[in-house]
């Protein structure tokens, strides 16, 4: 009897230690999929297909894993990955992170656990500085010459594959503008906007709108719209795509008072004609709903709102007008790749990743996936597939005409909009500070943050 008890005790002790060590030592395994789902993030990974994955490695096709940062195109990419597997035998596991997941943080976890994906998304200079030691050089890839928006480092190397172009300015409801007799093509300087706003404002009841603009400047959840996007016009509007004057100044902690004053003039105008409640406490959904239901003529968002428009049964025509902050004409919108895919330089499947990127960039199916299925604008000049959604069409027009300015704001110090400048926009919107205070506070906030 006692002997049995002893044996059981030993067995239990052994099992406990075994189970512990089993958790700790299994890092070399190449079976990533099981680990991913355990990370607690909103991973829509195809771990259920892991058995299929094993069989495909037997056929010699290989397997790569992509961490995608745009959850909206998760389904479409997976569909394309299936087609790609049929064609080439290479299995592409798409793992989409989004909906508020901290992508860079998740990737840091993967790196620490020896579970880095073969390709991963990164979103600008801050991310680049964090990850630059883990990025493969893509300069000699065939698609590089076919696009303007690949991620180039300061020494001219290409490390980021652009999969889309996004653009914004001031998006308008073309039907309302037409009724009010405002030509969107004329909106190329601050005075044109002033006249247009005044005219539309005076016709509010005729047009059936409650305010002229739908702007959200609350600093907790809308900082990215004001502090990144709208502020992006200060950094780039009217400048050549390679002109980095103002972003370089900002990185050194300096601001240009004249340009900032001009920017503040425009901001004041925009805030003055914006719906008050949405301006100071609205969320993205509030802002979008207001415009999409036809209650305002303008909204400060870009072509990414296209997929949401059917939810509101939008029947009116729309387009993007320049964020023309200055008195001089600046006829162009801000368009760039929102994020890029990098190839993990220590991964074993680099060639397979290059092939996958090439197929997305240069084949008909790849273009269809990016443009038709995902509703994005292809960053590649050779793409023949035309977008169909209204804002994408408008954006395409600007891109084709070469009237675009780059997204210099993505080179700002990380988190500056959330932690420093967003609140200043909110204070200005609420009327807590005047224009002069706005300019000086932006100056001190930038110099404090950049230090």
């Amino acid at each position: 009897m006692i002997k049995w008890k002893k044996i059981v005790a030993i067995a239990i002790a052994a099992v406990m230690t075994l189970s512990l060590t089993a958790c700790g030592s299994n890092t070399s395994s190449s079976d990533n999929t099981a680990d991913n789902t355990a990370s607690g993030t909103e991973v829509s990974d195809s771990s259920a297909e892991s058995t299929a994955a094993e069989s495909s490695t037997e056929s010699g096709g290989g397997e790569i894993r992509l961490v995608n940062g745009k959850i909206e195109i998760d389904e479409q990419l997976k569909t394309y990955a299936e087609k790609y597997e049929e064609k080439t035998g290479v299995k592409v596991n798409i793992e989409s992170l989004g909906g508020g997941v901290d992508i860079s943080g998740t990737l840091k976890g993967y790196l620490a656990a020896g579970n880095m994906p073969d390709m991963y998304v990164f979103g600008g200079e801050g991310d680049y500085n964090t990850w630059k030691d883990y990025m493969a050089d893509l300069s000699d890839q065939p698609w590089v010459s076919d696009t303007d928006v690949a991620y180039k480092t300061s020494d001219g190397k290409v490390v980021g594959f652009p999969y889309a172009v996004e653009g914004y300015g001031i998006t308008y409801n073309a039907d309302i503008l037409e009724k009010a007799g405002v030509d969107p093509a004329s909106l190329t300087n601050i005075n044109a906007y002033k006249e247009a706003f005044e005219k539309i404002d005076s016709m509010k009841s005729v047009l059936g709108i409650t305010a002229v603009c739908s702007v959200a400047a609350e600093s907790g959840q809308m900082y990215w719209s004001t502090g990144n996007h709208i502020f992006g016009s200060y950094l780039a509007q009217g400048l050549d795509r390679s002109d980095t004057t103002y972003i370089d100044m900002l990185k050194k902690g300096e601001t240009d008072t004249d340009r900032m004053t001009q920017f503040a003039d425009f901001l004041e105008l925009l805030f003055q004609y914006a719906d008050k409640n949405t301006l100071i406490s609205g969320t993205y959904d509030d802002q979008l709903a207001l415009w999409a239901q036809g209650k305002t003529a303008f909204i400060t968002q870009g072509n990414w709102i296209d997929p949401s428009l059917p939810d509101y049964n939008v029947s009116f025509d729309s387009g993007i007008a320049p964020l023309a902050i200055m008195e001089e004409d600046t006829d162009g919108i801000l368009a760039d790749a929102p994020s890029w895919w990098a190839v993990y330089n220590e991964g074993g499947n680099k060639q397979l990743c290059y092939d996958f990127m090439n197929s997305l960039a240069s084949t008909e199916e790849g273009a269809e996936c990016l443009v038709t299925d995902c509703g994005m604008i292809s960053p590649f000049a050779s793409t023949m597939v035309e977008p169909t959604t209204p804002l994408a069409v408008s954006l395409m027009g600007w891109v084709k005409a070469g009237k675009t300015y780059s997204w210099q704001w993505s080179k700002m110090p990380e988190g500056i909009a959330l932690n420093a400048t967003g609140v200043i926009f909110e204070s200005f919107a609420k009327g807590d500070i005047d224009k002069e205070q706005f300019v000086t506070m932006m100056g001190t906030a930038v110099s404090d943050y950049a230090k």
Binding site: G24, G126, N277
Partner: protein
């Protein structure tokens, strides 16, 4: 004599097993840290550990009992070390460097600590968190105690009330936060025509978070008070009733002193939880609205936990975030240890 020899042999076998186990573990660890991808290091570690434990278990010696205790404690100690002690030590170390989540390039000493206390947003977060903690603690306890009195009185349907007040606590903070954000932004401005959202005003936004937090947490604390009040002996209450004490006197002279311990528990529970407030803060305001202080705009409702999160995640300054987290830990540790001390004193008195 023969039996003695057998014992001797037996002991040697055990020691050899232990030695082999240690050797296997060490070589497995060396393989792991040297970056080898060989597949045997996992099984080797397992076999080594099994051999080690088995050897210790069978080793005949005077301290056999203590050894067994250690063997059985091992899983817990191991788990605690791996998940708490080691990360904590690493955290202290990282707070002295410029770690960015992947690697660090230089050792900074106390620079992070100095930066932290000299940055206005952190000091402001600290102050606002303390204000929130004190207000929230008072409100929650006051409301919870009153609800507990209601739910232990003879009022009709008290079990329903008890369940109903507890329900908000069952909903996740993020969900609650977004629901209440909608209420503050949409419903209240219609109920009070012409008013602006509470969340747009620096002071009212704090009140808004206090409201939601109290509403969510009071039901939970109420349950603890209910159990406390129910544990007051019936005979004492009856005796006071016979002596002609009215309800208020019973409450003040009997119930409150009898459940003093419950008060300590509840006060410290709310203290710690309010100080750690993150989810509601994140979902309702995420730091907004703005407040102008000394000519600078700062976020008015950014509590410490949110400040730490933003420092590490959105600013990508993991080392500084870690530093703030460490100070946060020390404060919470002080609060908790105070509670333990107070409770110990009380127990002695009782």
């Amino acid at each position: 004599m023969k039996a003695g020899k057998k014992d001797y042999l037996y002991k040697i076998i055990c020691i050899v097993t232990i030695a082999a186990g240690i050797a296997a573990i060490v070589s497995a660890l060396i393989l792991d840290f040297s970056g080898s991808k060989s597949n045997i290091r996992g099984p080797m570690l397992l076999i080594g550990m099994t051999a080690l434990i088995f050897g210790i278990f069978r080793l005949p010696c005077k301290k056999h009992r203590q050894l067994i205790n250690i063997v059985f404690l091992f899983p817990l100690v191991f788990a605690f070390t791996v998940t708490v002690i080691i990360p904590f030590m690493l955290g202290i170390f990282y707070s002295l460097t410029d770690w960015n989540g992947i690697k660090f390039t230089q050792f900074l000493g106390l620079k992070n600590y100095i930066d932290m206390f000299s940055s206005m947003d952190y000091v402001y977060s600290f102050v606002i968190t303390v204000i929130f903690t004190v207000c929230n603690m008072l409100l929650v306890n006051l409301l919870a105690f009153m609800l507990a009195l209601l739910c232990t009185s003879k009022v009709r349907g008290r079990n329903f009330y008890r369940a109903a007040y507890f329900v908000p606590n069952l909903i996740g903070g993020i969900v609650l936060g977004y629901v209440w954000q909608f209420i503050f932004n949409k419903v209240f401005i219609i109920l009070i025509p012409g008013s602006l959202s509470m969340l747009a005003d620096a002071n009212l936004a704090l009140v808004a978070i206090l409201m939601v937090s109290t509403w969510q947490y009071a039901g939970y604390i109420m349950m603890i008070y209910v159990t406390g009040i129910q544990s007051v002996p019936k005979d004492i209450l009856e005796a006071s009733n016979v002596d002609g004490a009215n309800g208020f006197q019973t409450l003040r002279k009997i119930k409150v002193p009898m459940i003093a311990n419950t008060f300590t528990v509840c006060i410290f529970l709310t203290l710690v939880n309010s100080f750690k407030q993150f989810d509601l803060n994140f979902a309702i305001t995420n730091g907004a609205p703005s407040r102008i202080l000394n000519g600078k705009a700062i976020q008015a409702t950014e509590f410490l936990a949110l400040n730490i999160y933003k420092t590490a995640i959105s600013k990508n300054e993991y080392a500084l975030g870690q530093t703030k987290g460490l100070v946060f830990f020390i404060i919470l540790a002080i609060i908790s240890l105070t509670q333990v001390t107070i409770r110990k004193k009380k127990e002695v008195e009782l």
